[in-house]
């Protein structure tokens, strides 16, 4: 009874996955017929392109810095939500909005907040005399600030997801060990860093691994806020693949760029299987 489902998924995930690999070592363009094996030529030409190197570096900066921010923020937020309090459902609703609203739509909200002329952030900064009225920060127009903006918006989007996962782990944690430690005189931070966080590691792992995959392979925030600009300075691997393979019709080179996502996917999948296996054994 599971065959139809498996076949459906194989046809639309397995087959394109193999095709993506074949494209990356072939010479396919939109409208072209026939297929010639070209070996690693696409990878070579991709690696030689300076834009690609920027995209590769940006992908790592984008993923690592947003996930560090997410992890720290989510742990602090989850800690403050652990105990029941009045109005919890409302607060939970507000906190979850960035994750549950379609991310393309949340990003367009940010595009307005970061607008070059009418940015509310700039309005506040100017009133606080932290920015110059005549040359306010161009959040999406200056390469450094644009990179910072996409990292912060991605953090904003992923933080609720990590928070609820960590919170679920905390609620499931056995209460007796931290309580025993409290009786023995361990203070709040000692309990937190030496007992609770180490006990939480498997669940924090889950949050981080999903966070890495969903950030490294996604292009929505970047595409909507900057489209990789200004001057390709915020290009990440997925946007670069989209630009080359879909807009630029160079299927082979686009597929080759996408292939650079695979090593990360394999590592993360392997780590996930290992932690699932460990949970099964114990």
């Amino acid at each position: 009874m599971f065959l139809p489902a498996v076949l459906y998924v194989l046809a639309l995930v397995g087959v394109p996955l193999i095709l993506a690999f074949l494209y990356s070592v072939g010479d396919v363009k939109v409208g072209s017929v026939g297929y010639h094996f070209v070996g690693l030529a696409n990878f070579r030409s991709v690696l030689e392109s300076p834009t690609f190197r920027v995209a590769l570096r940006n992908s790592f900066i984008f993923t690592i810095s947003s996930q560090i921010l997410v992890l720290v923020g989510a742990t602090i937020l989850a800690l403050s939500l652990k105990k029941a309090f009045p109005g919890r459902w409302l607060l939970r609703f507000l906190i979850l909005l960035p994750w549950v609203a379609p991310v393309s739509i949340g990003s367009i909200g940010w595009k307005w907040i970061l607008d070059s002329l009418y940015s509310v952030i700039n309005w506040v900064l100017i009133r606080l005399h932290l920015a110059n009225e005549f040359s306010p920060p161009m959040w999406l127009g200056d390469p450094k600030l644009a990179m910072l903006s996409i990292i912060l918006v991605q953090t904003w989007h992923m933080l609720p997801f990590a928070t609820v996962i960590i919170l679920a782990g905390w609620t499931a944690l056995p209460k007796d060990i931290p309580e025993a430690a409290e009786v023995d005189g361990a203070g709040f931070f000692r309990r937190l860093f030496q007992i609770e966080i180490p006990m939480m590691l498997p669940i924090i792992n889950v949050a981080v691994l999903f966070g890495i995959i969903f950030t490294f392979t996604d292009m929505t925030v970047v595409y909507i806020l900057t489209r990789g600009g200004p001057y390709d300075t915020t290009q990440v691997l997925p946007t670069q693949a989209f630009q080359t393979g879909v807009l630029g019709s160079d299927l082979a080179e686009g597929a080759a760029i996408s292939m650079f996502l695979v090593p990360i996917l394999i590592v993360v999948a392997w780590l996930m299987l290992r932690s699932a296996h460990r949970a099964e054994v114990t």
Partner: protein, 284 residues
């Protein structure tokens, strides 16, 4: 003395907790407040840099909403989303429910292995597959049609739904079906008359999540569909509501708010089950 110290720390902890909660809630929900206030502001109020942007400086207006519903394809996009979502949900249920059941009841380690395999396919991202899929979609004659995403979306809703449902089916004791089969029901009848009614809440969860995944997907829709009339809300609003370089921020923000709130409410109701799907194995 020790007691007083402890009480003091509790109150302090309470204050710190509230501060953290409210600070995060404000930061995270701010863009949605901003959408709300922008939707009802007059254009002259929006674009006057002297005004305090956090409040209404002029009377509110419904002009942006009128523009959105009267002169854009917004309603069409809402309809497209509902239509595609419904069919994707139907395909997902028809394929994932029996698959999850079979995999749970499959004896030996194979059920588990195929289950994990199915879950891992959920991790393969659209950005790895969109280039070959755009050719597959074209060869099926579905390019620039809503049907392209209807056919492709189940490729990620099925894996996740199967995984979620396997968790539900595992909690149903096998003895229940065995007893029903002793009483003369076939396995299929036992499945339809016993298992499905018991796991209705699980099936409902799958319905909600498949539907929200459809509304949230962006990459495939962007790749396969080129004309504005065939878009879903998630793509139409951020890409096609902008004409050239002109942003109608009032209408745009109204569209964002209308498109995100119902989904956010639905999602919240079922969130705990959804998280359980991610944390199977890591939390017991």
């Amino acid at each position: 003395m020790a007691l007083a110290g402890k009480k003091g720390r509790r109150i302090g902890g309470g204050f710190v907790n509230w501060f953290v909660r409210i600070a995060f809630a404000v930061l995270l929900a701010f863009p949605f407040y901003w959408m709300l206030i922008t939707s009802f502001k007059r254009t002259s109020d929006l674009y006057n840099l002297k005004f305090n942007p956090f409040i209404f400086n002029e009377p509110m207006t419904l002009a942006h909403l009128k523009l959105l519903f009267g002169e854009t394809l917004f309603l069409r996009w809402l309809w497209n989303t509902a239509f595609a979502g419904t069919i994707v949900v139907a395909i997902t249920l028809v394929l994932a429910v029996p698959a999850a059941y079979a995999l749970t009841r499959l004896t030996g380690r194979w059920g588990q292995r195929v289950g994990i395999g199915i879950f891992l396919t959920y991790l393969i991202p659209p950005t790895l597959l969109f280039i070959p899929l755009s050719r597959i979609v074209a060869s099926l004659g579905l390019q620039d049609s809503l049907w392209s995403i209807i056919v492709v979306y189940p490729s990620f809703t099925i894996p996740f739904s199967t995984w979620l449902l396997m968790g539900f089916f595992k909690s149903i004791p096998q003895e229940l079906e065995d007893a029903a089969m002793v009483d003369g029901l076939t396995r299929f009848q036992a499945f339809v008359k016993l298992v499905i009614p018991i796991s209705l809440s699980g099936i409902l969860t799958v319905v909600i999540f498949s539907f929200t995944l459809v509304t949230q997907e962006f990459v495939y829709a962007l790749t396969f569909i080129a004309s504005a009339a065939h878009e879903t809300v998630g793509l139409g609003v951020p890409v096609f509501l902008i004409r050239g370089d002109v942003y109608y921020w009032g209408s745009l923000m109204a569209a964002c708010l209308i498109a995100s709130l119902p989904i956010a409410v639905l999602y919240n109701l079922f969130l705990d089950r959804f998280i359980a799907g991610f944390t199977v194995g890591a939390v017991k």
